[in-house]
């Protein structure tokens, strides 16, 4: 049985926008999942349902063998397990300094004294926020805010991490740093789900790709299998990854995983 199971999940906003329409999805523990799709295809709504902020009107959501109901106690447990990094870091940072903001989730998760300090050090080390620790959030640059927002969620020690467009508006270096953090988390066997518009990144990084359109899951599977399919790409409004374009153009038989591999060939 998969770690995360969604069965016929439908979710409607109060203004009657059907954001998720009969979504079925299975995700294993430790998987790296990328969700792609146009704007408004329901990626953020999917994440909000997964982390328990929204509750789907119909369907079953099973996490780690337990069905998630909308009861308050269950929800708090779900929050502990699934961390959500918002696309806009501004909405997440609220404390008067970076350090306090990061400590907030850890203290709520019941950490104290040395455990708390160790957790903070680990998280700040991973996200490179150590130097910012005394600064108030409004004095940070966008990239720094984003890192602090990630750190704040990591400090709660979630098993599943959801990141909504983690690379939006980041420069190349910041993006690389973020990818490093993701890789680090992958080594700790955390399940990572991100939504992104960067199809090249999704192709190289993900174990599993979820293609969404208008609230429905069009296809799931390994990115190399899916992104070859021109019909699907057309339908979902996606572009083919650069590597695949090149291999097609050059009529190569191989399907390299990363750009480096491709260049070596």
């Amino acid at each position: 049985m998969s770690y995360i199971q969604l069965e016929h999940i439908s979710f409607e906003y109060p203004n009657q926008t059907l954001a998720l329409d009969e979504v079925n999805l299975n995700i294993d523990k430790g998987q790296k999942v990328a969700v792609v799709g146009e704007n408004g295809s329901g990626k953020s709504s999917l994440f909000l349902c997964l982390c328990g902020i929204h509750h789907a009107q119909t369907g079953r959501y099973i996490l780690d063998g337990e069905e998630q109901k909308c009861k308050r106690k269950d929800r708090n447990k779900l929050f502990r397990k699934v961390g959500y990094v918002f696309q806009d870091p501004e909405v997440q940072l609220f404390a008067s300094t970076v350090e306090k903001d990061i400590s907030f989730g850890a203290i709520n998760a019941g950490m104290k004294g040395e455990a708390l300090q160790a957790c903070m050090d680990e998280v700040m080390e991973m996200t490179q926020t150590h130097d910012l620790r005394k600064k108030p959030p409004h004095q940070l640059s966008y990239g720094q805010k984003k890192r602090v927002a990630i750190a704040g969620v990591l400090a709660c020690k979630p098993e599943v991490l959801l990141l909504d467009e983690p690379f939006a508006w980041l420069d190349n270096q910041q993006k690389k740093n973020t990818i490093q953090v993701l890789d680090h988390l992958h080594e700790q066997n955390k399940t990572i789900i991100i939504s992104t518009h960067d199809i090249n990144f999704a192709y190289e990084w993900a174990d599993k790709l979820v293609v969404m359109k208008e609230g429905r899951v069009l296809a799931t599977g390994h990115p190399q299998g899916l992104l070859d399919n021109e019909d699907l790409l057309e339908k979902a409004g996606l572009e083919m990854p650069l590597i695949l374009k090149l291999t097609k153009k050059l009529d190569l038989d191989i399907r390299p995983n990363t750009m480096e591999e491709f260049l070596r060939v």
């Binding site: 501004e90 997440q92 306090k100 903001d101 400590s103 998760a109 108030p136 969620v153």
Partner: protein, 255 residues
């Protein structure tokens, strides 16, 4: 933006325990309020100015922060110094306009100066606290003063959200201005209305998301944070206490 943000290099330098800063603040404040003469508030202002200048605040910046309350005070004190009367009175300067005599006397001038110096002393004491204590230390002090948690959290959240809203309104204003929204009076009024309503909507949406983010990080109606400060040095607080006694004593002298 905020004055404490503008000169925040001071906050970065002065990292002593917030309570020590607070005792000095109280010493300065009481020194300038519990006084019969202008000497002790004058000493307070000099002390704090020297402290600021020593920590590399420029003279220009010092005048700027002093001028900020000064303009309000002058207007207020003018009404105390000026005497308007229908009869002539003993004065340093007096002039007659119609039936009225307007001028100021020695006594009114003395009172005016006394009030201004006293208020400047208190103002500088506040500057001392604000410019040396970052917002999280002020939060710490408020908590230690046993203010209800709700109020302290409101204070922290307001500060945070005011900074966001200010930033947003500024961007919004600039983008309107670039599209020539403020060229005539009527379009200015209309644009301002749009600005205010969009800031309002934005803040509602923001509040919604923020609450979701807080819940996701385990918020259960109580905000607790890690507190890390330099160790508390009793010696410095005793110095502050002595300073306070000295200032108040000087303030009781009749000059």
């Amino acid at each position: 933006m905020f004055i404490s943000e503008k000169y925040n290099f001071l906050q970065a330098k002065i990292t002593q325990h917030p309570f020590e800063k607070f005792t000095f603040f109280v010493a300065f404040l009481l020194g300038s309020l519990l006084t019969q003469n202008i000497l002790s508030p004058f000493l307070v202002v000099t002390c704090i100015s020297t402290f600021f200048l020593y920590h590399a605040l420029s003279v220009k910046a010092l005048f700027q922060i002093a001028a900020l309350p000064m303009s309000f005070m002058l207007v207020a004190v003018l009404s105390i110094i000026c005497i308007i009367s229908q009869e002539s009175f003993e004065a340093i300067y007096i002039t007659q306009i119609g039936d009225y005599y307007i001028g100021f006397s020695q006594i009114s001038l003395d009172i005016g100066i006394f009030i201004i110096v006293k208020a400047m002393g208190a103002m500088f004491a506040f500057y001392f606290l604000i410019l040396t204590s970052p917002i999280d230390e002020i939060e710490y002090l408020l908590r230690k003063m046993k203010l209800p948690d709700l109020l302290v959290e409101l204070f922290v959240l307001s500060f945070r959200f005011i900074t966001i809203l200010l930033l947003f309104s500024r961007q919004c204003y600039l983008s309107q201005k670039k599209r020539m929204a403020y060229r005539s009076f009527s379009s200015s009024i209309r644009s301002l209305g749009m600005l205010i309503s969009s800031v309002l909507i934005k803040s509602l949406i923001h509040a919604d998301f923020s609450q979701q983010a807080l819940l996701n990080r385990g918020y259960r109606g109580e905000m607790r944070f890690i507190e890390i400060h330099e160790p508390f040095v009793l010696k410095r607080s005793i110095i502050a206490l002595l300073l306070m006694i000295a200032l108040v004593a000087i303030g009781q002298l009749r000059l």
